[in-house]
């Protein structure tokens, strides 16, 4: 019969020898193995304090991006909420007033924008649906909390800071549009 892998090994069903039937060599070997593991460096990551590094394209906690001038990109079109399979996103739209042009890029903006992190499945559909490149998933995590209220992330937690140095880098997650020359046959 053709073996499925190259590691396949024929196992003989012979009788055990006398020393094998004593079991002591096997037991001692087992004890040796567990003792070796006892002194090995353990692999646990003490999660809330220590985080393991994620790949830059990891789909974690969302960010609401600002544009280069520090204006919120989100225009509260609601496409992300429609795209969301877990129905985790809710928002309330509002009209931009005169004098708020420095805050919001379009005439319409999200007065409130909430993502329920307990519902979210981190699929990234919102990101795909967004026509304004406003929402992105990042390699950050939604941290644990003692009550459910803490998992409803509002704009204060989602929108990135205005300060240029503190912006969240999502360049790795942006899928670049193919140039028209490349698309042409």
């Amino acid at each position: 019969m053709q073996p499925l892998t190259a590691r396949a090994k024929q196992v003989p069903s012979r009788k055990m020898t006398w020393t094998e039937r004593l079991y002591f060599p096997a037991i001692l070997n087992g004890l040796r193995i567990t003792m070796r593991h006892f002194f090995r460096k353990n692999v646990t990551v003490r999660y809330p304090e220590v985080e393991r590094p994620f790949s830059p394209v990891y789909r974690g906690r969302h960010v609401l991006k600002r544009d280069d001038e520090g204006r919120e990109r989100c225009t509260a079109c609601g496409l992300c909420a429609v795209a969301c399979p877990a129905e985790a996103i809710t928002m309330v739209a509002a009209e931009r007033k005169r004098g708020e042009e420095k805050l919001y890029r379009e005439e319409k903006y999200a007065a409130s924008y909430e993502i329920n992190m307990l519902r979210c499945i981190f699929c990234g559909m919102c990101e795909e649906a967004c026509p304004k490149e406003a929402i992105f998933l990042t390699e950050r995590l939604a941290h644990p909390d003692y009550n459910r209220e803490g998992f409803i992330f509002d704009k204060a937690k989602l929108v990135e800071p205005v300060d240029k140095d503190k912006r969240v880098d999502v360049s790795k997650r942006i899928i670049p549009y193919p140039s028209p020359e490349k698309l042409a046959p």
């Binding site: 037991i27 004890l31 193995i33 567990t34 003792m35 006892f38 090995r40 353990n42 692999v43 003490r46």
Partner: protein, 341 residues
């Protein structure tokens, strides 16, 4: 005189009781840590620094859990089960010599509760009563799994007590005493019984594992087959008593193993240190506890290394291997004693 004696004994009993409970409490923690380390994990580390308060948290959890009494159970026996398990687990510590006599003024204070000349027999009697806790608890639960666990426990105890007793017969033949204190005194320095009775020790420790219902002999609990075995129906502190009794048993069997085979409070070169009698006594007690902790660690080490026996394998090993081996050991010991004495 009489009153001071009574008060001293009472204080000693209370002290040993507390120490036993404390060690059992932290054995649960140590077990989780040892298991974790052997599996390349970290173990509980959230409660207090390094998780040192974890046993307290577990205890509070146990106390505050809902107490469920199955309505088909026998009420009295259901309550009696954990009580007996705990009682017998704690009773054995009475005959263990924790150290040499302390001299305060010119009066000796014995560091053991009862210096009786049939201590080994007493231990056996109490240990064999311990199975009633499991048996009664499992029977009174009126649950198939519990009953199976209880039946397994009783047949396991009977099978392994025989081999255990026989392995000790050889030891008693060489020491000529059933008094644990005398046995320990005979192992002065490095003349530990393990050198004279290696086979007996091997049989004894295997049986000790079985008597404690520890892995690889934890068939009465056996989560994978019997839900929880004899304590399936137990909850809250009654369950806590059962689990706790297991750890106390482990501690006590380590004590007995050390006293009988590993020299108790004796350690090599103890006469050459030039210590006063009292200081030597204290050091001896410390050494005794270090040995006990090493044995408790060994119990855990085995548990996280070996898989569980099948029940027929367990009984075959008890009746067909250990008992003949123990009898063989007695014959060898007797032969050597006749030849060389």
């Amino acid at each position: 005189m009489e009153y001071s004696f009574l008060i001293y004994k009472l204080v000693l009993i209370l002290f040993i009781f507390t120490v036993t409970l404390l060690i059992a409490l932290y054995s649960t923690f140590a077990e989780r840590k040892v298991a974790a380390f052997m599996q390349d994990r970290l173990g509980p580390d959230r409660a207090g620094p390094g998780g040192i308060l974890q046993p307290l948290a577990d205890g509070i959890k146990m106390f505050t859990k809902e107490e469920i009494m199955p309505n088909t159970s026998d009420r009295l026996l259901f309550l009696l089960g954990p009580v007996i398990a705990m009682l017998t687990a704690l009773m054995t510590s009475a005959v263990i010599p924790w150290g040499r006599d302390l001299m305060i003024g010119d009066r000796p204070f014995s560091l053991m509760v009862a210096n009786i000349n049939i201590a080994v027999l007493y231990v056996f009697g109490v240990v064999s009563m311990g199975v009633y806790g499991i048996l009664i608890g499992g029977w009174a639960s009126n649950n198939k799994y519990s009953l199976l666990g209880a039946v397994r426990a009783s047949s396991q105890m009977i099978s392994y007590e025989l081999a255990m007793g026989l392995s000790l017969v050889a030891l008693i033949m060489t020491t000529g005493s059933m008094n644990i204190r005398d046995i320990v005194e005979m192992q002065h320095g490095f003349h530990w019984n393990i050198w004279y009775q290696p086979l007996g020790f091997l049989i004894f420790i295997i049986c000790a594992f079985a008597e404690c219902n520890r892995a690889p002999f934890d068939l009465p609990e056996c989560e994978t087959e019997l839900v929880g075995g004899y304590h399936t129906e137990y909850s809250s502190m009654k369950l806590g008593f059962y689990l706790f009794a297991e750890y106390i048993n482990m501690f006590i069997s380590s004590c007995i193993l050390v006293s009988l085979y590993f020299g108790g409070y004796n350690f090599p070169f103890e006469d050459k240190l030039g210590l006063s009698a009292n200081a030597l006594s204290v050091v001896g007690t410390v050494v005794f506890f270090i040995k006990i902790f090493l044995f408790i660690f060994f119990f855990m080490w085995i548990r996280w290394t070996l898989p569980r026996f099948r029940f027929d394998q367990l009984l075959r090993m008890g009746w067909k291997i250990l008992i003949p081996l123990a009898i063989f050991n007695i014959l060898i010991t007797g032969g050597i004693m006749v030849l060389f004495k």
